[in-house]
């Protein structure tokens, strides 16, 4: 069993089965890069493996661009982006893509919002036309908002209200960040969802959905040379938009551990701890990535061997770190506690593994294994056009740029055992830690059900 925590940090138009394991960037086949006259960046990777392609448009806007009282605005807008334009009215977007054998969807994270179509390579023109159309022509309608708000509230119930682990992830971020927008969940709070107006959405759209704030990716069996004229023809007429204001709020230093409990009906306890760590902008991010591997990647990793295999304290355990964030994020640990075991013991065991790394550097074997894993993942990543494009789109959207992906393997190769020990000592410290524990409470006694529908078979 794998607990996919990062799934809780990305919210989709429609639930899809794409696992967001913490994906370290890796050197990819170099994309061909173009800059349109209106500032839109275009990246094309020619992959003549199968006659399919992915088209993705990434906007540099996510929950970090929202303000207090309007949490979830980016994600709500993502949903409204399927509600039609004058040219392609409500429902026709997905219908057209499907009719052409393609699949479309979208997702929003803390840092970005992305739209994609996976389809036969000879149909990419259709996806491009539809994306260009809704980059400027979205029609926001009050009645559509009214219904879609309810859909998003159902999504929130599904992901957070009725999912104990989702609820704990949300609380962890809310505790670890006080002033930075990573404080609130991508999907937003119920109250904010209710307060959102059409004007809020229009302003967000006008501010962020412009070519100079977007990256277009096409990865698959296409030729850049023949595709580029189409792209120019479709996207260049879209005028450059305002330069979005930078997000200024910075999070102050954490001085002392933060700790909280979450009590709700559940079968097994769950513990998480998050440490504030730097992102790609810091050289330390590579050592932190290796650190994550050593702790958590594969059944031979330290956390699995110790907590699951030897001590049998956990059903699932892991560490996740993504250096691919616009602002510094969290390095977090989690442990789904085995029935009959104590949550305190599971937490102690996590702490012991952290201290072990602080006290002695990893072995040469462990270091080499982590590096091999990163390298292999780089190759496997390219097996899917979709994931390949995601990697590039994410790097661009967070401000790292795809070239940094290219340098990633070199930097990883240079990490030493001492580096790993150093970052463990520097960042995984008690005073910079937020710990959340899910305490299962027994089921409530059901209120008497109406006579017409007694529990049980009928």
């Amino acid at each position: 069993m794998i607990v996919q925590l990062s799934q809780h940090l990305t919210t989709w138009l429609l639930l899809v089965v794409v696992a967001f394991v913490a994906v370290p960037p890796a050197q990819a086949s170099d994309p061909l890069e173009f800059l349109l006259s209106n500032g839109m960046k275009v990246l094309i990777v020619e992959v003549p493996k199968a006659p399919v392609a992915t088209v993705q448009v990434w906007y540099k806007v996510g929950s970090r661009n929202e303000v207090m009282g309007r949490a979830g605005l980016s994600h709500m807008l993502e949903h409204m982006m399927f509600k039609g334009t004058n040219k392609y009215p409500n429902g026709s977007f997905s219908r057209l893509i499907r009719k052409n054998g393609g699949m479309d969807n979208a997702f929003t994270s803390q840092d970005f919002t992305a739209y994609f179509e996976n389809l036969a390579a000879d149909r990419v023109g259709l996806a491009l036309e539809l994306e260009a159309d809704r980059m400027q022509g979205l029609v926001l309608d009050q009645n559509e908002l009214k219904t879609e708000r309810e859909v998003v509230k159902e999504e929130r119930r599904l992901r957070t209200e009725d999912d104990p682990q989702g609820a704990l992830v949300e609380a962890l971020f809310a505790q670890a960040y006080m002033s930075h927008p990573y404080h609130w969940p991508v999907i937003g709070w119920f109250g904010d969802l209710d307060a959102m107006t059409l004007e809020d959405l229009q302003r967000h759209y006008d501010t962020y959905y412009s070519p100079n704030n977007a990256t277009l990716l096409v990865v698959g069996d296409v030729k850049a040379e023949s595709l580029l004229p189409t792209i120019k023809q479709l996207f260049e007429p879209i005028p450059r938009g305002p330069e979005p204001k930078p997000v200024l709020t910075m999070e102050g230093e954490q001085r002392g551990e933060r700790r909280f409990l979450l009590k709700r009906e559940a079968q097994v306890p769950f513990v998480m701890m998050g440490f504030r760590v730097p992102n790609f902008a810091s050289e330390d991010s590579y050592a932190l990535d290796i650190l994550e591997s050593i702790l958590s990647r594969g059944k031979s990793s330290r956390l699995y061997q110790s907590l699951v295999y030897d001590q049998k304290l956990a059903i699932a355990v892991g560490a996740e770190y993504s250096l691919m964030q616009t602002d510094p994020g969290l390095f977090y640990f989690y442990s789904l506690v085995s029935p009959g075991q104590k949550v305190e013991q599971a937490e102690d065991a996590l702490n012991r593994e952290i201290r072990r790394l602080q006290n002695e550097p990893p072995t040469d074997q462990e270091l080499q294994r982590a590096k091999n894993q990163v390298e292999a993942m780089h190759v496997f990543e390219q097996d899917s056009n979709f994931r390949h494009a995601m990697l590039l789109g994410q790097s661009e959207s967070i401000g790292a740029g795809w070239k940094r992906v290219d340098q990633f393997l070199e930097r990883i190769a240079a990490v030493t055992a001492k580096d790993v020990q150093r970052v463990a000592r520097q960042y995984l410290i008690d005073d910079a830690r937020t710990v959340g524990t899910l305490i299962p409470v027994p089921p409530k006694q059901p209120e008497p059900a109406p006579a017409a529908a007694q529990p049980g078979k009928s």
């Binding site: 219904t147 993942m377 529908a453």
Partner: protein, 443 residues
């Protein structure tokens, strides 16, 4: 061993050098080894990776009635130690090269696969062959994995969708092995012994039950050699006897309500389905697409999500298995709108039976199903899985070139006929998990 591969089989080998591999071009090399193992090879030289995928024709459908979870437990123990490697050594070896091993049981078959870089293909074969031929089933690992599965079962109960499906399967597949969760129940898992595991393995894991599919940056010659080296010593053995009993059919509406302190009701509504080799499979696929499998374009999505805002997601499924599987519609809606959602679901089930679908719906469903076919084959792992299943269900490799034609043949009359035949808005199983006082289920 030099007659390991009949020379005549080399005639099947077709070499392609197209700019990109279209579905119609997928023609694997296939041979049956003297020990009965079926081998499929598809060369893909675009990236230096190899997927080695074994499908063993056994699963939870073969669990003894009082020992549900046995097939899954056997599968879970395959990579937990062999006669020459400990669990930790297996993990160390595969992790060191950045590869992965995955073992998964399902109802009708079990898969064990290795994903590996080309340079490590020997290691991939070494580990997979060792796991399949020489699992140790140490008492200590057996106890550990069983305890772990029990923990997962407890944790699964925190997922209302899982709880609802578990109850639904028991209603629909009553009296049939398909009724239990793959990993069994606390009670049945507790009854399984190491001796049961070893006996199940000895009976079911024989070369004649295995389809080994290799896709990626290898040559047919190379795979032939690797198969001989690593599986050549696996002795032929008679296959297990099969009890081919179909699940029964629901004769009346059956409702089960499960109390849980939640804000949403998890709803599953459905009944028996079809098997994979049913000639109506393609017509059912078209009908089901229009009803509820067609993403944002389906009738259920349009009505329940887009018009009424009752759910984030709603889908209908036909789980076509070796024996007839099930049909179900699943969704979550807030407690207060439970009845409204169920009423909407039943209305759509009736609607697609009572009137023919529109020309547009039919055309769009067909063009999606045919047009999206290559997307189901666009990674090495997906290709290996689909190839193995085409062989398992005996669909024939013309499947890859003929699929669009089989879909194209479906008519409006077919759609209505299969809707009437395979959807029943009267005799169904309904499960609701949630706050029952608030949901006040009336159905």
């Amino acid at each position: 061993m030099k007659h390991w591969i009949g020379l005549g089989l080399w005639g099947c080998l077709v070499v392609f050098a197209p700019s990109s591999l279209s579905a119609a071009d997928i023609v694997p090399m296939r041979f049956v080894a003297p020990n009965g193992m079926t081998v499929l090879v598809l060369e893909q030289h675009f990236l230096p990776i190899v997927e080695i995928h074994s499908l063993i024709k056994t699963g939870s459908a073969q669990d003894p009635p009082d020992k549900a979870g046995l097939a899954n437990l056997v599968a879970s123990l395959l990579d937990e130690g062999t006669t020459s490697r400990t669990s930790k050594q297996i993990a160390e070896q595969i992790d060191f090269v950045g590869g992965s091993l995955e073992v998964r049981a399902s109802e009708d078959f079990t898969t064990a696969s290795a994903r590996i870089l080309k340079k490590d293909v020997d290691l991939g074969f070494t580990l997979l062959a060792d796991m399949l031929q020489h699992p140790a089933f140490h008492k200590q690992e057996f106890e550990r994995i069983r305890t772990q599965i029990l923990g997962e079962m407890a944790s699964d109960n925190d997922d209302p969708g899982h709880v609802a499906m578990k109850a639904f399967n028991q209603l629909v597949f009553h009296g049939h092995p398909y009724r239990w969760p793959l990993n069994g129940t606390e009670e049945t898992l507790g009854k399984i012994t190491v001796a049961d595991v070893a006996a199940f393995y000895a009976k079911e894991y024989v070369p004649g039950q295995v389809i080994l599919t290799v896709v990626g940056d290898v040559t047919v010659d190379q795979v032939t050699g690797l198969v001989q080296t690593y599986f050549g010593g696996w002795k032929k053995s008679p296959g297990p006897a099969r009890n081919i009993r179909k699940p029964g059919v629901l004769d009346k509406k059956t409702v089960q309500l499960i109390e849980k302190d939640l804000t949403q009701s998890s709803i599953v509504l459905g009944h028996s389905g079809i098997n994979r080799t049913n000639p109506d499979f393609y017509a059912v696929s078209v009908m089901n697409y229009i009803l509820g499998a067609g993403g944002f374009s389906s009738r259920l999505m349009d009505s329940i999500r887009d018009k009424q805002g009752l759910a984030y997601g709603i889908m209908s499924h036909f789980d076509a298995r070796l024996m007839p599987g099930s049909f179900w519609i699943s969704l979550q809606t807030r407690s207060e709108t439970t009845n409204q959602a169920i009423t909407g679901v039943l209305a759509e089930m009736r609607g697609i039976r009572d009137a023919p679908v529109s020309d547009q719906e039919l055309a769009e469903a067909k063009s999606f199903l045919a047009g999206s076919f290559p997307l189901r084959l666009d990674s090495t792992a997906k290709l290996a899985q689909v190839l193995a299943q085409v062989e398992f269900y005996g669909l024939g490799f013309e499947y890859f070139s003929q699929y669009p034609r089989w879909i194209e043949r479906v008519t409006k009359e077919d759609v209505q006929r299969v809707a009437k035949q395979y959807l029943d808005p009267q005799r169904y199983a309904l499960v609701v998990v949630g706050n029952l006082a608030k949901s006040k289920v009336k159905h």
